[in-house]
């Protein structure tokens, strides 16, 4: 594999976008091996899966830590303060929260943020002290304010407005005009609006616990439950759609690795060539090792720890 990579300098060394990037021998083999390691969990928990899991968590943590340090600490301090100092020398205002302010104020605001961060971390030295409470209070207050304004508008006001529509439409087609496009007819529009209105009222009615469940409220609640179940069913269907899309994409990705350039036995189109492609070889390796382990440990634990 390494010999193959060294033979051809045109191949990129480590680009994991199989199928769309240049051929990448080591990356391709890693993609195949790690994908099949994760899939092996469907059989049962095993060392290959554990290896892939730990590698993923370790690499992910390192990547995220670096990104957050770069963009969350280094840039706000080094770049923004440097930018403010440049503006100060030029006698210009600095943008802060949408307003042009004096560079000194911008630098002071950044330094105040650093001070708050240090106060927050002081709980590591003295748990229960007063210092971490101030930044926490500011964070909660600012977050609540930011969420409240936008969320109220988008999830309350606009949703109410969306509900308050007339039950009839002047622009929709008459039933006889083109009955094949049922969704565009006035009759369907009215039907949809009625379903929306009744469904919303009944679903909300299900959560009314202030009053005794009379026959009427019980009936409303029952219709509400049906509406909620249909909603959950729709969500389940979409979730299946998403998960299967991931599976198909992985199969597609592995399929791309059976193409020219990745096989150990060359690309002459022979059976041997196909058998030495990354998915086939790594898959065979995983199956063989799992069979070996099963033979050593006995079959007593077969099925334990299999995927939920």
């Amino acid at each position: 594999m390494i010999a193959l990579a060294l033979q051809d300098t045109a191949r990129s060394f480590f680009d994991l976008e199989a199928g769309s990037a240049d051929l990448d021998i080591i990356g391709g083999w890693l993609v195949a091996f790690l994908t099949l390691c994760v899939f092996s969990f469907l059989y049962k928990d095993n060392p290959f899966y554990k290896f892939a899991e730990h590698l993923f968590v370790g690499a992910g943590t390192a990547f995220f830590a670096l990104q957050y340090y770069q963009e969350g600490i280094l840039e706000p301090l080094r770049d923004h303060i440097g930018d403010a100092l440049e503006h100060q020398q030029a006698g210009e205002l600095v943008q802060l929260g949408g307003y042009g302010v004096d560079a000194g104020i911008a630098i002071a605001a950044r330094c105040f943020a650093v001070l708050l961060s240090i106060m927050l971390l002081s709980r590591l030295v003295k748990p229960g002290g007063w210092a971490p409470r101030w930044p926490l209070a500011i964070m909660v207050g600012v977050y609540a304010a930011i969420k409240l304004t936008g969320e109220t508008q988008s999830k309350l006001v606009q949703q109410f407005r969306g509900m308050m529509k007339p039950l009839t439409s002047d622009t929709a087609m008459a039933w006889g005009d083109n009955w094949q496009n049922v969704e565009q007819t006035a009759a369907f529009y009215t039907f949809a609006q009625v379903v929306l209105l009744v469904g919303t009222v009944c679903a909300l009615g299900h959560f009314v616990f202030t009053f005794r469940r009379t026959r009427f409220l019980g009936g409303v609640s029952r219709v509400g439950v049906v509406v909620l179940m249909i909603t959950f069913g729709s969500m389940f269907g979409f979730t299946v759609l998403g998960r299967i899309a991931l599976l198909i994409e992985r199969v597609d990705s592995l399929g791309g690795l059976t193409g020219d350039g990745y096989q150990l036995a060359g690309t002459d189109g022979s059976v041997m060539s196909a058998l030495t492609s990354p998915p086939v070889l790594t898959g065979t390796l995983i199956v063989l090792v799992l069979l070996l382990l099963k033979g050593r440990r006995g079959d007593g634990d077969a099925g334990s720890g299999s995927a939920a």
């Binding site: 976008e17 059989y43 995220f64 770049d79 930011i146 304004t149 936008g150 969320e151 759609l241 299999s306």
Partner: protein
């Protein structure tokens, strides 16, 4: 169902795997009818005048690339083909390397110049707060761009962007979860009334119907939406053809797998009720 029959669930996994691989090897593809939401997404971008600035937010990671990357590619093609300028941001740390690779590949096809036709500002930590900050002022949210680490003053595109989403005509987000489209609707749509388009994963899609058309101009729902959108973009962009054909083939596999799952659910329910009656 497995518990109802005593069948080991791994048989179901195996059949599912064989089904997907077999259909993949067959490689059949089918054209899909385009729904209203996808058509509206496409038409909204088509209606933008040349030179307009669009903020494109990549809020995804590799786990959702199967669904969102084709949409992202198609959107870049449509934007650049129509000479629309793109301001690229992200609230997910893993997205920038992928978005940069896509711009590297697609932008030269339309002879676009970095800094003039598109700018990559990269990842901004802080979730909702970061979105609010970007909305308030791009310049106070970012000091430098992500590609060349240049001060924003040196990038001509940024000269036409001002505070409060000033100069930005449309926000497009490829959303895989939190933070994503629902937060952008609150922070950009709710506070600054910026028109918004989105492409989302299947898990998020059911939440979006309530926002269309009042708060969303259009959306691409899951792999289905991606395929339909690529069909529309592919009519005028040859580079999308391969991606479109691949997505069409994937959707045919999806359809058969769904039929298989529906069959499993029906059989499982029948076995459950038959077992219940026998026990009674």
């Amino acid at each position: 169902m497995a518990s109802a029959t005593g069948l080991d669930r791994r048989w179901i996994f195996l059949v599912m795997g064989v089904l997907v691989v077999s259909l993949y090897v067959l490689g059949e593809a089918a054209e899909m009818p385009v729904n209203e939401y996808v058509q509206s997404y496409y038409d909204t971008i088509e209606a933008l005048p040349e030179g307009t600035i669009v903020m494109l937010s990549a809020d995804f990671d590799p786990a959702s690339m199967a669904e969102l990357l084709p949409m992202y590619q198609g959107t870049i093609h449509q934007l650049l083909r129509n000479n629309i300028r793109v301001l690229n941001v992200s609230t997910w740390p893993a997205a920038p390397p992928y978005t940069r690779a896509e711009f590297d590949r697609i932008a030269p096809q339309y002879e676009k110049v970095y800094g003039v036709d598109w700018v990559e500002l990269g990842f901004k930590p802080g979730d909702d707060v970061a979105m609010g900050q970007i909305g308030q002022s791009v310049r106070s949210a970012y000091a430098k761009d992500d590609r060349n680490l240049k001060p924003l003053n040196e990038l001509p595109l940024l000269n036409d962007v001002s505070a409060g989403f000033g100069g930005i005509s449309l926000l497009i987000t490829m959303s895989a979860g939190y933070p994503g489209i629902l937060e952008w609707i609150a922070q950009a749509g709710g506070r600054y009334e910026v028109p918004i388009l989105t492409g989302t994963t299947a898990v998020q899609t059911p939440d979006l119907y309530a926002y269309y058309p009042s708060q969303l101009e259009g959306f691409l729902g899951a792999a289905t939406g991606a395929t339909q959108y690529l069909q529309l973009v592919g009519e005028q962009t040859e580079d999308v053809h391969e991606s479109r054909d691949r997505n069409q083939a994937r959707m045919l596999i999806q359809s058969w797998v769904h039929i298989f799952i529906v069959l499993l659910i029906v059989v499982g329910n029948v076995l459950y009720f038959v077992g219940k009656r026998s026990a009674a």
